[in-house]
């Protein structure tokens, strides 16, 4: 194809998206669209998968059967989310093996929030309430993104997220209304997860690359700062309702803006964690790669068994 032909196709392609048409796997697409989508969708899939690790830490120690079945179901959902997203990413012509490889070698990123430790049971509450809460804010706009398989996967994901957040808030509420010690646990978890949750919505608009292109492709519909503001405005009253304090002395309602003003985010910490120096980066990768490698013999055995069964069937036919 000549340069001019490609330019032409690109113009038509952008116009289709502007008309709110969906792009499907076999449609022509610019290389940059394919690459950007592989990067964002796989990063999203990796986050769901690695995101299981901090929570699975507490499954066996959940304080009641009710809490245990809820947490188990939530973690299982996250595995499902990862799988929906991996298979949607594979429609762009990259193999699952390659995607896993990118995660396991550190070539691909996952959400940096999962590099924080889960040290008390209250962290299960804070994660559901805040981390899944922030994830929902990020994910809802993606239900109408331009790439069909991604949009469809996100619709399913969003339907399932709501319970994640509610079970987390319920945990926090129960603790906050409990003994002094339990309330302290809840407050301590909020103190530790609040700022990382704000960072989870991405760098400030001034520092955020790719934004304009992503807006055009509907990979993004609102800027990071707008999403963050939305998250803060919705979460602060929820904290007040259960008697917990947001750990930000500068947090104040701004009547004029109809929003909360908030304190400075420590972006230095964010970039440190992104670069691999968070409290649990190494542990998460060790657990993930370990699970993959230790499962190898199982995958091989299943494949060998399937082939043997197939051979036997073919012999019978003859």
């Amino acid at each position: 194809m000549s340069k001019e032909q490609i330019k032409n196709l690109e113009t038509q392609f952008e116009a289709r998206i502007a008309r709110d048409e969906k792009i499907e796997p076999k449609d022509w697409m610019p290389e940059k669209y394919r690459k950007t989508h592989i990067r964002q969708m796989s990063q999203h899939a990796h986050s769901e998968i690695v995101g299981m690790l901090p929570e699975s830490n507490w499954i066996t120690r959940a304080p009641s059967l009710r809490r245990k079945v809820a947490l188990l179901a939530k973690v299982q959902d996250e595995a499902g989310h990862g799988l929906y997203l991996y298979s949607a990413t594979e429609t762009l012509g990259i193999s699952r093996e390659e995607l896993y490889n990118q995660l396991h070698t550190g070539a691909a990123k996952y959400s940096s929030i999962f590099n924080y430790p889960t040290v008390t049971w209250a962290d299960m509450g804070a994660i559901g309430w805040l981390v899944d809460g922030a994830a929902i804010i990020n994910q809802v706009p993606l239900c109408s993104t331009s790439y069909g398989p991604y949009a469809r996967a996100m619709v399913r994901v969003c339907k399932e997220e709501s319970f994640h957040q509610r079970q987390g808030y319920e945990i926090m509420m129960k603790l906050a209304n409990g003994t002094m010690e339990q309330k302290d646990l809840a407050q301590d978890a909020l103190n530790r997860w609040w700022w990382p949750s704000l960072m989870m919505l991405g760098p400030t608009d001034a520092e955020s690359i790719h934004t304009e292109q992503s807006m055009k492709w509907k990979l993004k519909r609102k800027s990071n700062d707008d999403l963050r503001q939305q998250f803060i405005d919705q979460t602060v009253p929820q904290a007040e309702l259960i008697g917990l304090t947001i750990p930000d002395p500068d947090l104040k309602w701004n009547d004029e803006r109809g929003s909360y003003d908030y304190g400075k985010i420590n972006w230095e910490e964010f970039w440190q964690v992104v670069k691999g120096h968070g409290p649990c980066n190494k542990e998460r990768m060790r657990a993930r790669v370990g699970a993959w490698e230790e499962g190898e013999w199982v995958r091989d055995a299943a494949m060998a068994y399937a082939e043997k069964k197939q051979e036997r069937k073919e012999k019978q036919v003859v």
Binding site: K26, Q76, S87, A88, R152, D300, A302, M303
Partner: protein, 95 residues
């Protein structure tokens, strides 16, 4: 390194009797039986289905969007295939 990767399967789910099976997504599995079991866990954790079909992706033949013109455009000018093409007197009701 694993010797062989599990192939990819396309998953179709009938959400309730009376409706057709609809494409839900795909997954990897060693064989059809495992694909069914995995599909149950991945795509129907909340009663989304009453029946599942799985087919290994390589067995699907798909049309190429580049040929959409020759495939689908011929239907565009065949307006006589639609009821509104035919002129009937207003007195004729229910036809």
């Amino acid at each position: 390194m694993s010797k062989k990767n599990w192939p990819i399967w396309e998953i179709f789910v009938r959400s309730k009797n009376g409706l057709e099976h609809r494409h839900f997504g795909s997954l990897h599995a060693a064989d059809a039986e495992m694909a069914l079991e995995n599909a149950r866990d991945v795509y129907t954790r909340r009663n989304e289905g009453v029946s599942i079909w799985v087919i290994e992706s390589k067995h699907i033949t798909a049309s190429n969007p580049d040929n959409n013109g020759e495939l689908f455009e011929p239907a565009q000018d065949k307006v006589y295939r639609h009821p509104t093409f035919y002129d009937l007197p207003d007195e004729v009701k229910h036809m």
